[in-house]
Symmetry: C2
Subunit: 299 residues, 2 copies
């Protein structure tokens, strides 16, 4: 049987079933970051992301943007757990024929991103590879009380997203700013119920929250902020690589947030009982059950 039959998430699930963890692991695989015991008031967050030429960027992509993205995707994972990134290590697989100027620009992208978000690049590994591959592992910290995971959405919660969705492939996936500041603002004022970053598409990532929180959701088509870069609503629902935050708040907290009239946080729906699955409401055509799908490797 080929892995394409199981798909990315089937394969991950198969892997995770075999893993045993000790008590120092608060949460292992299955969220944006692993959560580890750290000190009295804080957890440590640990995440890794691999980006590959031909999949996450093209051979002709400006290496500065590739380096930038390699760091940014991990920051986004730390942000979606409401943490602060601290340190990272970088593994680089470089083709033998790479030019020094190319690597310099790649490194500039990484360093600028790391500097902007106050992250120490503390080590790495260099290897030869046929195509460029970069893996970044990042450590962060989070106050125990503020930790946001995928499994705490509650029935009645309002679902929000930051920014706008869809069409990221036309540029945003290489230039996005991880929503670290926004996550921090939110956790200062509210108890976030569930949070994830949208990397594989709104429905698929909302699907992770629903599955892990054992709930359902209704989202409203006219409320979904579709990016100017998106060709249609479908790209906003399924395309992925938006690196926006998707989170749920109690109704009381949602009301407070809505009173701000901030352009950044947009309500798109609400959490309902699990039995309803994921429904999309269109004001003309009515309710429709959405198939949860989005970007998957190997498909």
């Amino acid at each position: 049987m080929l892995i394409s039959k199981l798909g990315e998430f089937g394969l991950i699930e198969r892997f995770n079933k075999r893993i045993k963890l000790d008590a120092s692991v608060v949460r292992g695989s299955g969220d944006d970051c692993a959560v580890l015991a750290f000190n009295k008031n804080q957890f440590q967050l640990f995440t890794c992301d691999m980006i590959v030429e031909g999949v996450d960027f093209m051979a002709k992509t400006d290496p500065y943007l590739v380096g930038r993205k390699a760091i940014a995707v991990s920051i986004s994972d730390i942000a979606s757990c409401a943490g602060t990134p601290r340190h990272c290590v970088v593994s680089l697989g470089l083709p033998r024929k790479s030019k020094v100027a190319f690597v310099d620009r790649l490194v500039s992208g990484m360093l600028d991103m790391a500097r902007k978000y106050k992250i120490n690049i503390v080590g790495g590994d260099l290897s030869r590879a046929d195509k460029l591959v970069i893996d970044v592992s990042m450590l962060g910290i989070v106050e125990k009380k503020k930790l946001a995971l995928r499994n705490q959405a509650k029935i009645g919660d309002i679902i929000f997203v930051t920014g706008s969705l869809g069409g990221s492939i036309r540029g945003k996936h290489l230039k996005f700013s991880p929503r670290l500041k926004e996550a921090r603002q939110l956790t200062k004022r509210f108890k976030l119920h569930a949070m994830i970053d949208i990397s594989d598409g709104l429905t698929q990532d909302l699907g992770h929250i629903l599955e892990q929180s054992k709930v359902g959701a209704v989202i409203y088509e006219n409320l979904i902020p579709v990016s100017r870069d998106a060709r249609d609503i479908k790209e906003a629902l399924y395309m992925g690589e938006d690196f926006e935050l998707l989170f749920t708040l109690s109704r009381a907290d949602a009301k407070k947030l809505l009173r701000d009239r901030s352009g950044t946080y947009k309500p798109i729906g609400e959490i309902v009982e699990r039995i309803y699955g994921l429904e999309l409401v269109n004001k003309h055509s009515g309710k429709k059950i959405l198939k949860i799908k989005g970007y998957q490797h190997f498909k």
Copy 2:
């Protein structure tokens, strides 16, 4: 200019010069692990290693051994800082046509190694890649007093290695047991001055200790434990992937260790003033200045 002109270490140096670190980093890039502030008595260790098909293993290598190696190389890094491995994350780049049975066996190799050394696999990332690539990032802890680095070799120290060297390509590089137990035994009894694991060849890795400790060394050809798998002394000096420990002890500690008559720890020479560089003594032909060389990517 191509990166092959700078070579792996030239490229790393070029990268490192541009990095700035804050005070929470005890030691950044340049050792087997990064060393981070953790708690009153312990530091945290952080390391990553990428292994790539066609470079670190072949397409036809048993995937169980590939998975095993992916975890083992990082354990070896933690061991050479005298630490205890705790958690790791795994990024996997898999060809689309991979079979589930292949991935299952790869994962078995990783899980068995992790279980044996009591390491939690707490997360990961899955991506598509043309050739198999695995990156493992590992966290460990080390008592502050026991931390062993590359930069503390002292003139007069005796240089030791564990096990035997050379010919690793004929099997050992896929089957080695990281020297975690040995590192722990050593740190219990002695204050290790400098330590590194031999991944790129004895002279090259000893070269790292010499450079960072600002010292020289004399090693004795007849004392170097040449593996049965090695064709000649050159493979023991230069081949790499031995994953043995190379460390230095004060003369007093060295005497104590030698009194054990353990077969595991073999003295191979001593630390001298920097001006002497790295000398190899052959009892027939006398002294010879060794060129520091070993495995390098991109060459």
